[in-house]
Symmetry: C2
Subunit: 110 residues, 2 copies
DNA sequence: ACTATTTATCGTAATATTGCAATATACAAA
DNA sequence: TTTGTATATTGCAATATTACGATAAATAGT
C-alpha cells in the first residue's frame, strides 16, 4: 500500500484536502504571498523571487493552478498569474465553519 | 534531490505550510469534522468512524497533534482528543489576510 | 498475576512529492 | 528564418507519505 484511499472519503473531504495540500509547501505559500503583494498579476518574475530552479517553480505553479488557487493567462511571451478567489473562498469557508462550530461547543475538554 | 528546501523559506512560511499540509489528507479532514460534530472530545471511537486501520488512524492523529491542530489527553484507558483552537486561529488568520489583500487589490486581471 | 481493551510504535511495501538538468514549446523581434 | 526569451514538459534521483500487520505499552477489571 501507500496510496491515499481517496475513494473512502466524501468528495467534499477530498476537495478540501486537495486545497490544503496545495498550500502545504513553503514555496507555494511564498508564491501566494508574492501574488498578494504585487497588487496585480505576476507576469514573468516569479522565478527570480524564489530560491528554486525554473522547472521546480513551474511545477509548483501548476499544482496551485490544478487546485484552483491561482489562474494563469498567456500574455504574449510571458504568462500572467493571479489568485483564483473561488478556491480561496472555498477553503476559507471551511475555517469559518470550524470557528463557528468551536464557538457553539459546550466544552473543549483537553 | 527530493527533500523540501525548508531552510530557503521564512519560518512563517514553513509554519503555515505545515499547518496546511496537516489538513492535506481526507482522513485528517474527516477527523476534524468528526471532532467538531461530537460537541465534545473524542474518547476512543475515532477508529470505528474512519475507513482505515487502527495504526493508520493513530498516525494521522499524531500528525494533527504535531501540527498543533488537535490536543490529546490520557483519560484512563482511552485517550481524549479535541481541537486545538490556537492552530486553527493561526491558519484562519492567513486566509483572512488573503481576503483582505484581495479586497484591496485594484485588479486581478486573469 | 492474568486478561481484555485501547492506543502507540516498529518495520516495511507501495506510492507520491520534490527538485533539477536537459529539452521542448511558444512567441516576439530582428 | 534565425535568435532570444519565457514557460512547460520529460526523465530521473532523493526523499516523504500512506497504509497496515505485528507487536508493544498502558491501564482497568477480575
Amino acid at each position: 500500500m501507500g496510496a491515499t484511499k481517496s475513494d473512502q472519503f466524501t468528495e467534499e473531504q477530498n476537495k478540501l484536502a486537495l486545497l490544503a495540500k496545495a498550500l502545504g509547501h513553503p514555496a507555494r505559500i511564498a508564491i501566494i504571498e508574492y501574488l498578494l503583494k504585487v497588487d496585480s498579476c505576476i507576469c514573468g518574475d516569479i522565478v527570480g523571487v524564489l530560491p528554486l530552479a525554473q522547472p521546480t517553480v513551474s511545477q509548483h505553479l501548476k499544482e496551485l493552478k490544478n487546485a484552483g488557487l491561482i489562474k494563469g493567462n498567456i500574455e504574449g511571451t510571458a504568462i500572467c498569474y493571479c489568485i483564483d478567489e473561488a478556491g480561496f473562498e472555498k477553503i476559507k469557508s471551511f475555517f469559518e465553519h470550524v470557528s463557528l462550530s468551536l464557538a457553539k461547543k459546550k466544552y473543549n475538554c483537553c
